[in-house]
């Protein structure tokens, strides 16, 4: 025993050591305490770490891991803290995958970025993403952190909306315990707002300030409705509140996109050799290649991505999520990136006299999950893509990376209206791979391939065109009314991976690698003359979620 310490001090030190602290931790703590003592008036932080009793986890490592989220528990009054712990406990007993779906749906509904969860919980973002989207297992302690964040966030958001309704301009509850300033989440357009904006864009590409103000109101109201709150509680939207500036920027970006597409069209029209930019590396599994409508096949590198997301109704009655997919093909290749930093919308070629030369259709996917409108006689389409990550233009973004939820009612309405407008003019050959309109199914998206498309009501599939990557083909088991047209690249490879139940119109070789071919499904369309053409009658494409995260 050390001679410098009294027996009691030794006992105390031994007690500390046997409680799970190691020498290093004790020394660090001593340093902090001495620093605190140097500053009078500092309140020491309570470290109320509370591992679960029932889990019997050795807390030695658990202590180190404690995410900042647990510290917040101490900040609440005890009743609230106990209530929240009770809810977290309850969630921990439930089926983890079920809870993951609930949380994911909630995040989509309120447009919450994963980054926020990662910051608050200390979880690894990749692990979190996989757990939420694919059900990758997560240890109990980590799930506890996640559920704690979820429970607290619900409280925060409820508080935000309550404050909003009372007109209280409270600051956002701190979600960062450290001294650095609260980082407000990056604004993100919700699907409801984008729908409204695209419609407005169709009417008028350059709205005046008054019109923008109106749009601001409309969008915020729609976002509130999506979240299930009264439209008057707009301030509760927090960082996702739509402002006039944001609307202005959105229109400016769309105009820039259109100008860029026009420029590309001009390039193609004048016969410039198109070189294809390789797909961005960030999204390996989601780039599809399409063969040109005519006999000329594009080179391997030409890529055309489109995403189809299909949502089946959630059995648990969760908020139905709707996603729109848009893909458009232009008869131009992208030689350079368009000058937009956000997701861009797709426009069909306005003049059907574009070159029959089949260049690689470059697709610029927008993140807009709204239905495209096609004005009769004008084959231009505005298509938005429910993608969350804008990358370089040639990179088609994964639609499934963010699926947004919408209330079913507005969607149905939109669905019908869009349906009426979906009469497309006969495609010229160069437009065959053209615009696809996607509609939203009031359904919940599951990322498990086997679950996709299971519950799609066939009634909506009068004429359905589904474009997907071949890796998703396993999901098309229920599309009995769908014929399959396969558009393959000139170098088909392999066998179709999971196309057992699919009907093949084209008995060509199957394609395996998602990145090498485009598979398209058409219902009752006569595609006799051009097996690779998609006939232009009205259709309602659906979307298939591609698991990305």
């Amino acid at each position: 025993p050390c001679s410098q310490l009294t027996c009691l001090q030794q006992e105390l030190l031994q007690a500390l050591l046997s409680s799970g602290l190691n020498k290093h931790t004790i020394l660090e703590a001593l340093g902090e305490i001495e620093a605190f003592r140097a500053k009078p008036g500092e309140s020491e932080e309570g470290d109320g770490v509370e591992p679960r009793i029932g889990e019997e986890e050795s807390s030695e490592d658990g202590e180190e891991f404690e995410p900042p989220i647990f510290k917040e528990l101490e900040a609440l009054c005890p009743e609230e803290a106990a209530q929240q712990r009770a809810m977290v406990d309850h969630l921990l007993q439930e089926d983890p995958w079920h809870v993951a779906k609930v949380i994911k749906c909630y995040m989509q509904q309120h447009n919450l970025p994963q980054r926020e969860v990662v910051d608050a919980t200390g979880l690894n973002q990749s692990h979190l993403s996989q757990h939420l989207n694919k059900g990758t297992p997560m240890k109990n302690q980590k799930r506890a952190a996640l559920y704690t964040w979820y429970v607290q966030k619900q409280g925060e958001i409820t508080q935000q909306f309550t404050n909003a309704s009372r007109g209280i301009l409270g600051e956002e509850p701190n979600d960062e315990m450290t001294s650095k300033k609260v980082r407000r989440n990056r604004f993100k357009w919700g699907p409801a707002s984008q729908q409204i904006l695209f419609q407005a864009y169709e009417r008028q590409k350059n709205p005046s300030k008054e019109e923008r103000e109106v749009l601001v109101e409309d969008c915020n109201r729609a976002e509130c409705i999506q979240r299930g709150v009264s439209p008057s509680q707009v301030q509760g939207l927090g960082s996702n509140l739509v402002t006039e500036v944001r609307v202005y920027n959105w229109f400016a970006n769309r105009r820039k996109e259109e100008a860029f597409r026009h420029k590309l069209a001009m390039d193609s029209y004048s016969g410039q050799p198109a070189h294809n930019t390789p797909q961005g590396t960030g999204h390996s599994g989601h780039n599809l290649q399409a063969s040109p409508p005519h006999g000329e096949y594009s080179r391997e590198e030409t890529q055309w991505s489109s995403f189809v997301i299909v949502q089946s109704p959630s059995p648990t009655g969760l908020q139905p999520s709707h996603t729109l997919m848009v893909s458009d093909s232009k008869e131009v290749t992208l030689g350079s990136l368009p000058p937009v930093s956000t997701l861009t919308a797709l426009h069909g070629l306005s003049s059907p006299t574009a070159q029959p030369q089949t260049q690689t259709p470059g697709l610029i996917m927008a993140s807009l999950p709204s239905i495209m409108t096609i004005s009769p006689g004008d084959s231009s389409l505005v298509i938005g893509l429910a993608s969350s990550q804008a990358q370089n233009v040639p990179v088609i973004n994964t639609v499934a990376s963010s699926l947004t939820t919408l209330q079913p009612v507005p969607f149905q309405q939109h669905l019908t209206s869009a349906h009426q407008q979906q009469v497309m003019p006969p495609f010229q050959s160069n437009m065959t791979q053209g615009s696809f309109m996607t509609s939203l199914q009031p359904a919940h998206v599951y990322n498990h391939k086997s679950e996709l498309l299971q519950d799609i009501p066939n009634s909506l599939f009068t004429q359905t065109m589904v474009i997907t990557e071949t890796g998703q083909l396993g999901a098309f088991t229920n599309l009995t009314a769908v014929k399959q047209v396969r558009i393959t690249s000139p170098t088909p490879v392999g066998q179709l991976s999971s196309s057992d139940s699919l009907q093949h119109l084209d008995s060509g070789p199957s394609v395996s690698a998602p990145s090498s071919s485009l598979v398209m499904y058409l219902t009752s369309q006569s595609i006799d003359s051009h097996p690779h053409l998609l006939s232009p009658s009205a259709f309602i494409p659906t979307q298939i979620a591609s698991p990305t995260q």
């Binding site: 009691l8 007690a15 409680s19 009770a86 309850h90």
Partner: protein, 101 residues
């Protein structure tokens, strides 16, 4: 930590005999267990109490205890459910581990 339940009757038959074998007794008139500890001196007693205290903080479950010099009397019961719960059993187990022989 969620809802804390009393130890149901069946479980008592499994959990309590071990503790009773270690010297814990059931208190008359309330649903609790009790044990007295005797140490060599105050330091040892208080060192023991410190260990138990640190664990109690982690478990968020605190004992009723009395200490005079080298004696420590501990009563374990759960206030939220008005009787014995798993937390009491867990803490008792821990105490048994920590007591110096």
């Amino acid at each position: 930590m969620g809802i804390i339940h009393l130890i149901i009757y069946k479980e008592r038959g499994q959990l309590l005999p071990n503790l009773k074998a270690s010297g814990w007794i059931e208190v008359e008139g309330r649903d609790a267990i009790y044990k007295e500890f005797l140490f060599k001196d105050f330091n040892q007693a208080f060192g023991f109490m410190t260990r138990v205290a640190l664990q109690s903080e982690k478990m968020d479950h605190h004992p009723e205890w009395f200490n005079v010099y080298n004696k420590v009397h501990i009563t374990l019961s759960t206030h939220d459910c008005g009787g014995l719960s798993h937390r009491d059993v867990a803490l008792a187990d821990f105490i048994e581990q920590v007591v110096p022989f």
